[in-house]
Symmetry: C2
Subunit: 203 residues, 2 copies
Amino acid sequence: MSDSLLPGAISDLVAAFSALPGIGAKTARRLAFHLVDAPPEKSRQLHRALSRLDTELAHCPTCGFFSRPGEACVLCASNRRRTGQLCVVGRIQDVLAIEEAGVFHGRYHVLGGYISPLNQVFPEDLRLVSLQERVEAERITEVILAFDAVSDADYTAHYLLELLPRTVRVHRIAAGIPFGGELEYTDGITLSHAFTLKRELPH
Amino acid sequence: MSDSLLPGAISDLVAAFSALPGIGAKTARRLAFHLVDAPPEKSRQLHRALSRLDTELAHCPTCGFFSRPGEACVLCASNRRRTGQLCVVGRIQDVLAIEEAGVFHGRYHVLGGYISPLNQVFPEDLRLVSLQERVEAERITEVILAFDAVSDADYTAHYLLELLPRTVRVHRIAAGIPFGGELEYTDGITLSHAFTLKRELPH
């Protein structure tokens, strides 16, 4: 690329955008150039938001969701969430997806990823100790694993099954044909899950 | 979206990313969350680069390319570029694309867009007066319009043809089938250009 023709102030911005996941060289350039020509408020908005990351954002000490430093997150702080059940997810995005679907009304626990030795993610890198502590302290009777349908998640699910007391029921959300999915265009592994998890219909 | 569950520090960052062109709500969230979990140096790099935009970046007073404030751009400052010819482009990205292809070795003039009344871009919004001045001052004998193959660019080309002195030869780069393009998958307007601009082969 000919970014060497650009003054440092703009080539550094292109480089910073390029370092973000899923942003290629051309997109990085488009974003940076856009900010130069846009009203200054637009780049200042991004600048201000970045300034606040270090000082105004933390992970909830209970569940791992985003919170203000030293505070519980809105979900843990709310007294309108059902207790006794815990929905365990890999990432914070997953909480948002589930909240958007409106399919769960209890509290969450965000592991911070899945166990993945190949990617150097080991059990001690995840929020597992605090999960054990919560299960006891909050008298959890049911844990729902809302995990991606990927092999690291499968492994993590097995690991959690060993870790959690036998008295706690552990569910994992179903894998199968997605809504609107057609068999003809469904991959073999999904089909295999769908057959394995088949259920009898009442008649 | 359930971004209302997020603390202001992160939802503002999601909003700032969403305001960028081509960045949807999910991508904005992915970028913002990535910066939270990435080493702090990554968000600081972006933060620093944004800080410098206001104070360390300007448009070259001669050609409109990026430069440091009060300085000519590297292309105008270079004494290795051919003189007498001027390549006129719409946007700064176009200069980079042409430099990457290595197909032109003279100086550029960046209009800053194309005339587009529908989008409220009028001749006085573009670097047209300075183009006229340069053509005279730099004794330009040939202008090459390296424009996109879109109708606003066609109109701008016609406008420039009227504006520039008759003594200056004005070329526009060819429109036609792109390299590797197959007729079967080429749209009708491109095919029409390719037929209109057909040239006789020597034999």
